[in-house]
Amino acid sequence: MHLSPDALVDLAERTANDADVPHLRTCERCRRQLDELRTMMSAAADVDVPEPSPLFWQHFSSRVQEAVSAEGQAGQTRTWSWTRGWRAWAVPVGAVAALVFAVVIGSRVPAPAPAKSAANRADAASVDPLPDDPALNLVADLAATMNYDDASELEVGTHVGSADEAVGGLSAGERLELRRLLNEALRQPGD
């Protein structure tokens, strides 16, 4: 009878002594599993996790703001109104923005700030907070309702590390929920 997963975990975590488990001395398979488990735990413990950039969402917001502003200016020169034409651009804009918005922006869109001087606006170093733009709110709403499959079908691109960056921006409640979801996912190997 081989060691149960719980018994192996206890041994790996040193909450039980190898010497107290005679089976280990005679079973190569269990010894190997224990060694592999300890290797994995050791590797996991050594992970050096960076603090995510506080500028991440600001930079993204800034780029979206520019895109939305450009769209708005173009819309003013056209004969069709924004409200008539939103469906035409909402899908591609929403598709690109949806995944990241859902994770990063959501309710964290900053409140409108007092107007800055022209000189300050010209300063490339400053990052203007987002205004309370109805077009932006629409995109945020689209993001909230777009799921993973929709984004995948639309071939929305991601870069490795974007999730790592976003984790640091979660609230305590969101972290709790994410842990629950991850625990759920870890219990489903075929997920």
Binding site: E13, A43, P50, E51, A125, A163
Partner: protein
């Protein structure tokens, strides 16, 4: 078989590690713990999707972790440099050009260095995998990132205030 056993065992281990202290207390859940859970999840999925064999497992594990570490270190360093730049640019005094140039160079150097390091780590992973697995690994990483973002998105949505109908 051993791989499956280890993968299965990682679940209770991580669950225990993540829930030490006061179980369920949100304040105890750090980004680092969530990263560890993401890593375990990615490893478990990689084993399954790439069909890692017993004789590949140990090397794949260490090299995959090395790849993740290299990426994270680069991100951490970049974050630090960007924060430094931000402070200077938002300071009361205009930043000195020489200092800005120095920091821009540091960013460029970091980018070049991290690109090389990531490439080396990626090559090391590839050496353990056959061609089909290498191809799958590329797709896997993209899919895994999306899956992580989906989980993040769900965690956020679950905490959003309900809108009145």
């Amino acid at each position: 078989m051993a791989i499956i056993a280890v993968a299965a065992l990682s679940v209770p281990v991580l669950a225990r590690q993540a829930q030490r202290g006061e179980p369920g207390a949100a304040a105890d859940i750090t980004p680092a713990e969530l990263q560890r859970m993401f890593d375990a999840y990615a490893l478990m999925q990689a084993q399954e999707q790439l069909k890692i064999k017993d004789d590949q497992y140990a090397q794949f594990l260490s090299r995959f972790r090395a790849l993740q570490d290299v990426r994270r270190r680069a991100l951490q360093e970049r974050t630090r440099l960007i924060q430094t730049l931000r402070k200077e640019l938002n300071g009361t005094q205009p930043p000195e050009e020489a200092q800005l140039k120095e920091q821009l160079k540091a960013l460029d150097d970091l980018e070049a260095r991290s690109t090389t390091d990531v490439k080396k780590a990626q090559d090391a992973v590839d050496q353990v995998l056959d061609t089909a697995q290498q191809a799958k690994f590329r797709v896997f990483e993209e899919n895994m990132e999306r899956r992580k973002l989906e989980l993040l998105s769900r965690a956020r949505q679950a905490n959003r205030p309900k809108k009145p109908l």
